[in-house]
C-alpha cells in the first residue's frame, strides 16, 4: 500500500465520518471520536509499514509528490499530532459541546483527518501548485475548526479574524507564486532552484516574487509582522484546535517554507543572500515580538500563543542558517528537530489547559494557583512542559534552541543571536511565572482534580518524550541526518 493511498484513505474517512454524522445524527460522539482516532492510528501503522521511496507512489502522482526524509518525517509528524488532537478533542468534548450547535462535535473529529491528509500532501509537495492546494485544504478546514464553538463569542471572533487575515495571506501567497513563476518560468522547486542559479534570471523579479511568497507563508507560520492574528485566534479557538494550529499548522507552514527556501537559497542562487538577510531580520523580530508582550499576559492560553510566535522566530532563524559542514543537520533538519521537540511540550501544555477547562477552571494565571495541591502529577507534567518551552537543559526544548544558536553563531549572525537570546531570557520569565503560580499554596482551599488513567497515560507519554528527546536525541537526529545527505547530494 503506497503512502498516497493512506493519505487518500484518511481524507475519505474524514468525509465518511461527516456523512455518517449527517445521516445518522444519534451516533455518539465517543464512537465518532474513537473511530477517527482508530483510523488515524491505523494510518500511522500502515504509514510506518509502507515503502518509503518516491518510486512506490502511484505513477500519476510522482511528478508532483516526492518521498524524501523530510516528507516522511513531516507525514509521521502530521499523523501523530492528529491523533493527539483527536484525543484531546475527546477529552475536552464535555465542555466544548456547550458552545456548539445542538451539542454536536462531528466536524471536530472529521475535519482533522482531512487537515492531516492535507498536511501530509504538503510535506511531499514538489511544486507550488501542490503546495497551494494542500495549504488551502488545511487552511479552509481550520477556518471551520477555529470558529467551531460558535456559541462562544471568542471562538466566533477568532474565526472571523482568522478567516479575513488568512484569506488575505492566501491572496498574497498566490500573487507571490505568480511572480516566482514569472521570474523563473516554472512552478517546481527543482526548476526554481535551477533557474535562480542562472545569472540570466531577472533578480528583481525573483526577489519580488520570493519576498511576496515569503510574506504569504510567513502568515501561516506566524512570522512578524504577520503574526498579529496568532494571539487572538489561539485564545479564541477551542483548545484542541489551538493545539492543532500551534503544532500542526505551524509544522505544515514550515515544511513548505523549508522546501521553498531550499529552492531560493540553493547553492549559487542569485537571491540567496538577500533572502537570508530577510530571514534573519524577520526571525529576530518574531522572536522578540513573541516574547516581549508575553511577559504581561494573564491568560495562559494567550501566553502560549505568544510563545508559539517566539518559537516560530527561532525556527526562522534556523532556516536562515544554511548547511554548515560541521553540522550533521541541514537547516531543514534543525527545523524538523525543533518541531519534533516542540510537539510534545506544546501538546502537553494545551492538554493541561484542556484538562483544567474540563474541570471547570479557566485558562487564566489565577486558575493555575495551587495546581500542585490539586494534582501534583499534573503540576509536575505542566512544569516539565513549560520548562521545556522555556528551553531548560535536559528537556527537549533546550536542544532545539541550542542547535539554532549554534547555527547562528557558526554563521556569525551575532545580531540575530543577541535578539534570540534576549527573547529566550524573557521566555524564562513568563514560563516560570506560570510554574510559580502552580506551586503557590497560599489562598483558599482548592478542590482536588483527578485525572483519568488514559489522560495520565497520554500526558505521561508526552512528558517522557520531552525528557527522552532532551537527554537522548540520537535516534531522532539519526532520522533527520539522512535528509542532509540528500540535500547535499542535490
Amino acid at each position: 500500500m503506497s503512502v498516497f493511498t493512506i493519505e487518500a484513505g484518511l481524507a475519505i474517512l474524514g468525509l465518511a465520518l461527516l456523512l455518517v454524522e449527517a445521516f445518522k445524527p444519534d451516533i455518539s460522539r465517543r464512537t465518532l471520536g474513537l473511530t477517527a482516532i482508530a483510523g488515524t492510528v491505523l494510518a500511522l501503522v500502515l504509514f510506518i509499514l509502507a515503502p518509503h521511496d518516491t518510486a512506490s507512489l502511484p505513477g500519476f502522482i510522482q511528478p508532483w509528490h516526492q518521498l524524501d526524509g523530510l516528507a516522511i518525517f513531516y507525514k509521521g509528524f502530521a499523523l501523530v499530532i492528529t491523533i493527539l488532537v483527536l484525543w484531546l478533542t475527546l477529552e475536552c468534548a464535555p465542555y466544548l459541546t456547550r458552545f456548539t450547535l445542538d451539542g454536536k462535535l462531528a466536524e471536530m473529529f472529521s475535519l482533522p483527518l482531512i487537515v492531516c491528509a492535507g498536511m501530509m500532501w504538503m510535506a511531499s509537495a514538489r511544486d507550488l501548485v501542490t503546495v497551494f492546494v494542500a495549504l488551502e485544504l488545511v487552511t479552509i478546514s481550520f477556518y471551520v475548526l477555529v470558529a467551531f464553538a460558535r456559541k462562544s463569542a471568542f471562538s466566533l471572533e477568532a474565526g472571523v479574524k482568522y478567516l479575513i487575515l488568512g484569506a488575505l495571506s492566501t491572496g498574497v501567497l498566490v500573487y507571490g507564486i505568480a511572480w516566482i513563476y514569472g521570474a523563473t518560468g516554472t512552478m517546481s522547486f527543482d526548476g526554481i532552484a535551477k533557474a535562480l542559479a542562472n545569472p540570466a534570471t531577472s533578480k528583481t523579479a525573483a526577489l519580488f516574487g520570493s519576498a511576496v511568497l515569503l510574506c504569504g507563508l510567513g502568515f501561516k507560520v506566524a512570522a512578524a509582522p504577520f503574526h498579529m492574528w496568532v494571539p487572538d485566534v489561539y485564545q479564541g479557538a477551542p483548545t484542541p484546535v489551538t493545539a492543532f494550529l500551534s503544532v500542526g499548522s505551524k509544522a505544515a507552514g514550515f515544511v513548505v517554507l523549508t522546501r521553498a527556501l531550499d529552492a531560493f537559497m540553493s547553492a549559487g542562487s542569485i537571491i540567496g543572500s538577500e533572502i537570508q538577510a530577510l530571514l534573519l531580520v524577520i526571525g529576530a523580530l518574531t522572536a522578540l515580538l513573541g516574547s516581549l508582550p508575553a511577559m504581561f499576559q494573564t491568560s495562559v492560553k494567550r501566553l502560549l500563543a505568544y510563545s508559539s510566535i517566539s518559537h516560530a522566530g527561532y525556527l526562522l532563524l534556523a532556516l536562515a542558517c544554511r548547511e554548515s559542514a560541521r553540522f550533521d543537520l541541514s537547516s531543514g533538519g534543525v527545523v524538523a528537530f525543533y518541531l519534533a521537540t516542540y510537539l510534545p511540550m506544546t501538546v502537553l501544555g494545551f492538554l493541561g489547559l484542556g484538562i483544567m477547562r474540563a474541570n471547570g477552571l479557566g485558562e487564566d494565571l489565577k486558575d493555575f494557583t495551587g495546581l500542585a495541591k490539586r494534582n501534583p502529577l499534573l503540576a509536575l507534567l505542566m512544569t516539565l512542559s513549560f520548562a521545556s518551552l522555556a528551553g531548560l537543559p535536559l528537556t527537549a526544548g533546550f536542544l532545539g534552541k541550542l542547535f539554532v544558536f549554534l547555527g547562528l553563531a557558526d554563521h556569525g549572525c551575532w545580531g540575530a543571536l543577541t535578539c534570540a537570546v534576549i527573547a529566550a531570557a524573557t521566555g524564562f520569565y513568563y514560563y516560570f511565572k506560570t510554574v510559580l503560580a502552580m506551586y503557590t499554596t497560599e489562598g483558599t482551599d482548592v478542590p482536588a482534580l483527578s485525572l483519568s488513567t488514559a489522560t495520565k497515560a497520554v500526558a505521561g507519554a508526552l512528558a517522557l518524550a520531552i525528557v527522552i528527546l532532551g537527554v537522548y536525541p540520537k535516534p531522532l537526529q539519526g532520522v533527520l541526518k539522512a535528509d542532509k545527505a540528500a540535500v547535499v547530494a542535490k
Binding site: 560541521r326 501534583p376 537570546v421 520569565y429 516560570f432 503557590t440
Partner: protein, 486 residues
C-alpha cells in the same frame, strides 16, 4: 558504569521517589548518607592520582558530539565532597517541613553533583540549570518574607541567573565553535582542551571570550556588579536552599571558570583589559560589599552580603592564574561552602526559634546555648580567615600565589589588589565580630532566648564544623587530590 554516575543519579532518584510519596526524611537522609560515603570512597580511591578518573561516556548525539560523560579530577572531587557534605547537613537540619523541602534540596544537590562530575560542557551547563529551578521555586514559595516580596526576590535572582546563564551559553557556544577542530562540533571538554592546546587562539580573542565567560559565570557567582540578586535571595531563601545555593551551587561559576575557561583560554585572564576589568570587579566584591556588609543590621543580611564579598577572594585566585593561587581558590571554594552553609544553617535555626535576626533585639545567646555558640563561632571565625580553619589556607594560598612573580619596587595591579583585599579581611572581622558580639555576648535580651538544639539536630552542624577544623589544620588532605597542575 562509573561510581560517579551513581553519585549523580542517587539524589535525583531520591527526589523523584520523595515527590511520588516515599517517606521524605528517611529516603532523603538515606540517599545523602550513601552518597557521602560514595563520594568519600571516590576521594580515597583517587588518592594522589592525576588527571581524570572514573571516566565513563555515553554518546547521545554524534554531531555535534554530545555525550553524557562523567569523570572527576581533584577539583571536581573536592567540590563533590563539598556538595555531599552540605547536602547531608542541609537535609538533616530540616525539621517539620513539607516534602518539597527535601525534594528541592536533593535536586539542588544532585544538580550540583552533576555539574561538577560530568565532563561534557553541555551537561555541565545543563545540570546547573536543573538545580536553579528548585532554588527559584523554593525562594518564591517558602521564602522568609511576605509573598509579594519573596516572589520579587526570587524573580530578581532568577532573572539575573537566567540572563547570566544565557550569556554563559553564548560563551560556551563560542568556545565550542572555536575549539571543535575542523570536521565536527564537540562538547567534550577533554577534546576541546586538546584542541586548545594544539591550536591556541590569539591572545586578543582569548580575552574576548574569557570576558564573556567571566560575565556569564560571574553573574552566577555574584561577581560585582552583577551581585545584587544574591544578598536578598540568601536572606530570603529557606534554610536548606540558602545552605545549598550559597554553599554549593554558587561555586559552579567558579568551577566553570577554573575548569573550562582557564584551560581553554590560558591567556584570557592575562589580557590587559580583561585583567583590569576583573580586578575592578573583584575589588568591588571585596571592598564595596565589605562595607555593605558592615552596614547590615540583621544576621541574614550580614551572612548573605559576606558570602558575596568572599567571592572576591576566589576571583583573585582565578585572576592570578598561578598554580598556588588556583589551588588556593579551589580550597577556598570548599572552605567557603562549608562555612557559609554552617552559618546559614544556624541562622535558620535562630530565625525559627527567635523570630528575629535584628542585632539590636538580640544578645547574650551564649548563656543558654553554649554549644550553638561554639558551632556558630566555627563558622564565623572560619569566614574571617582564622588559621586552623579551612578558609585561611585557601586565602593565604591565593595571596601568596599572587606574589610568586615579584619584582621589588614594582607591584603589579594584581598585587595591589591583593593588598586591598587584605584590608577586606579586616573588614570581614569587623562585621563578623560585631554580629557575634551582638548576638551571643552581652546579657540575654528579655523574652528572646534560645536553647541548644538536641544532640541529633547538632549532628549536621558538627559535621560541617569538624570538616572545617580537619581540613583547616590539614589542608594537604585536599591538596593531595590536586597533584596535577590545574
Amino acid at each position: 558504569m562509573s561510581v560517579l554516575e551513581i553519585i549523580i543519579a542517587l539524589p535525583l532518584l531520591a527526589a523523584l521517589a520523595v515527590w511520588l510519596g516515599a517517606p521524605a526524611r528517611a529516603a532523603s537522609l538515606g540517599a545523602t548518607i550513601v552518597n557521602l560515603i560514595l563520594v568519600l570512597y571516590a576521594v580515597v580511591q583517587y588518592g594522589g592520582k592525576t588527571g581524570l578518573a572514573f571516566t565513563c561516556s555515553h554518546p547521545i548525539l554524534e554531531n555535534p558530539a554530545l555525550s553524557f560523560a562523567v569523570g572527576a579530577d581533584g577539583t571536581s572531587l573536592i567540590l563533590a565532597l563539598l556538595t555531599a557534605l552540605v547536602m547531608l547537613a542541609a537535609i538533616w537540619q530540616i525539621q517539620d517541613r513539607p516534602a518539597i523541602f527535601y525534594v528541592s534540596s536533593l535536586l539542588i544537590g544532585g544538580g550540583a553533583l552533576g555539574a561538577f562530575l560530568t565532563t561534557d560542557v553541555f551537561f555541565i551547563y545543563a545540570f546547573h540549570e536543573l538545580a536553579l529551578i528548585p532554588t527559584f521555586l523554593m525562594i518564591a514559595l517558602h521564602g522568609r518574607a511576605e509573598p509579594a516580596q519573596r516572589k520579587a526576590v526570587a524573580w530578581k535572582a532568577t532573572i539575573y541567573l537566567g540572563a547570566g546563564s544565557l550569556v554563559l551559553l553564548a560563551g560556551l557556544v563560542w568556545l565550542v565553535l572555536e575549539f571543535s577542530g575542523g570536521s565536527k562540533l564537540t562538547f567534550d571538554l577533554e577534546a576541546l582542551r586538546n584542541q586548545a592546546k594544539l591550536t591556541p587562539l590569539p591572545d586578543a580573542k582569548q580575552g574576548q571570550i574569557f570576558f564573556l565567560l567571566l560575565l556569564g559565570f560571574g553573574s552566577l557567582v555574584s561577581l560585582f556588579p552583577f551581585h545584587s540578586w544574591a544578598a536578598p535571595a540568601y536572606a530570603t531563601a529557606p534554610t536548606p536552599v540558602a545552605m545549598l545555593h550559597s554553599g554549593v551551587l554558587k561555586k559552579f561559576g567558579l568551577y566553570g571558570l577554573i575548569r573550562i575557561a582557564l584551560p581553554l583560554l590560558p591567556q584570557g585572564a592575562h589580557v590587559e583589559w580583561v585583567q583590569h576589568a576583573l580586578i575592578w570587579m573583584l575589588l568591588g566584591n571585596i571592598l564595596v560589599m565589605g562595607l555593605v556588609t558592615i552596614h547590615a543590621s540583621r544576621l541574614d543580611d550580614t551572612l548573605a552580603n559576606s558570602s558575596v564579598m568572599h567571592m572576591g577572594y576566589i576571583f583573585l585566585g582565578i585572576a592570578s592564574g598561578s598554580e598556588l593561587a588556583l589551588k588556593g581558590a579551589v580550597i577556598l571554594m570548599f572552605a567557603h561552602g562549608v562555612s557559609i552553609a554552617l552559618l546559614f544553617g544556624l541562622c535558620g535555626r535562630m530565625r525559627n526559634q527567635l523570630g528575629t535576626l535584628e542585632y539590636n533585639k538580640l544578645g547574650g545567646l551564649a548563656t543558654h546555648a553554649p554549644a550553638f555558640t561554639v558551632l556558630f563561632a566555627f563558622g564565623a571565625f572560619a569566614s574571617i580567615g582564622l588559621p586552623g580553619l579551612t578558609n585561611f589556607a585557601g586565602e593565604v594560598m591565593i595571596f601568596l600565589g599572587n606574589f610568586t612573580e615579584f619584582k621589588a619596587g614594582a607591584l603589579t595591579p594584581l598585587q595591589w589588589a591583593v593588598i586591598l583585599a587584605l584590608w577586606g579581611v579586616v573588614m570581614s572581622a569587623v562585621y563578623m565580630l560585631r554580629a557575634y558580639r551582638s548576638i551571643f555576648h552581652g546579657s540575654p535580651a528579655t523574652g528572646l532566648f534560645m536553647i541548644d538544639p538536641a544532640l541529633s539536630q547538632r549532628v549536621p552542624f558538627i559535621l560541617l564544623a569538624a570538616t572545617l577544623l580537619v581540613t583547616g589544620c590539614c589542608p594537604w588532605l585536599l591538596l593531595n587530590l590536586m597533584k596535577s597542575a590545574l
